[in-house]
Amino acid sequence: MASADKTINTDVPEKDVFAIHFLQSLSNLRIQNLFNSPDTTNYRVRKIKKAAYVSMARAAGGTSRLWSRALLRRAAKGNNKIVRFPRRKRKVTWKISSKRRRSDQRAPVVEDAAERLRNLVPGGGGMETSKLMEETAHYIKCLSMQVKVMQCLVDGLSPK
């Protein structure tokens, strides 16, 4: 029936979940002795940034969200690591080419903006507009949480 509950679930975990994941990946970086060599600044920054995104994706639910799955897949490609995605019993979603997307019913102005959004949100290329909006909401919440965690860390570390 059309009266089914359609509230979108955009809950994100608490800040400490993000913090734990981020600190874990930072400690992994430290184990690789990254922080002691002075001439690899850009490399270090990139590694930290990547660790931030990956830990955010893990904290946000790992493979249970389209954007986090796409992010992890993208990161794993760079590492040549095999990422295992657990088999889930759900309907198969086909990757929709832009010609066949069922969202032509929306105003073309909305679709232009949605196209730009698709480039920003990981994994957005195969999503329909409605799904994209849902994923965007969750993605933004997680991103802002991650930014807060990093800000706290920087504030705690900078000299008084």
Binding site: A2, A4, K6, T7, I8, T10, L23, L26, S27, R30, F35, N36, P38, T41, R44, V45, I48, K49, A52, Y53, R90, K91, V92, T93, I96, R100, R102, A107, V109, V110, D112, A113, R116, L117, L120, V121, G126, M127, E128, T129, S130, K131, M133, E134, T136, A137, Y139, I140, K141, L143, S144, V147, M150, Q151, L153, V154, G156, L157, S158, P159
Partner: protein
């Protein structure tokens, strides 16, 4: 939803109703930090909301970049005996 004839090649989500779209747009507007609160709620166009969302995501990415940069400098220059090092050690181990 009753109009589920889209079983051939589309995604599993049924066609979204306009109410749902409005609900999503409202949710996004609540998340975005500043969007003209002076506007009446039903007059904000969806495309404007999406535009603001794009800008917000880009600014968040830039924040992450800045913070990574600062973190990198800070983590490199931590002395072994300072209290910050003790904090990090207790957190990371």
């Amino acid at each position: 939803m009753s109009n589920r004839r889209s079983s051939r090649q589309s995604s599993s989500a049924p066609r979204i109703s306009d109410d749902q779209m409005i609900d999503l747009v409202t949710k996004l507007r609540q998340i975005l930090p500043e969007i003209g609160q002076r506007r009446r709620s039903d007059k904000v166009s969806a495309s404007k909301v999406l535009q603001e969302t794009c800008n917000y995501i880009r600014s968040l990415n830039r924040e992450v970049d800045n913070l990574s940069e600062r973190l990198s400098q800070l983590l490199e220059s931590v002395d072994e005996d300072s209290p910050e090092a003790a904090v990090i050690r207790s957190l990371l181990m």
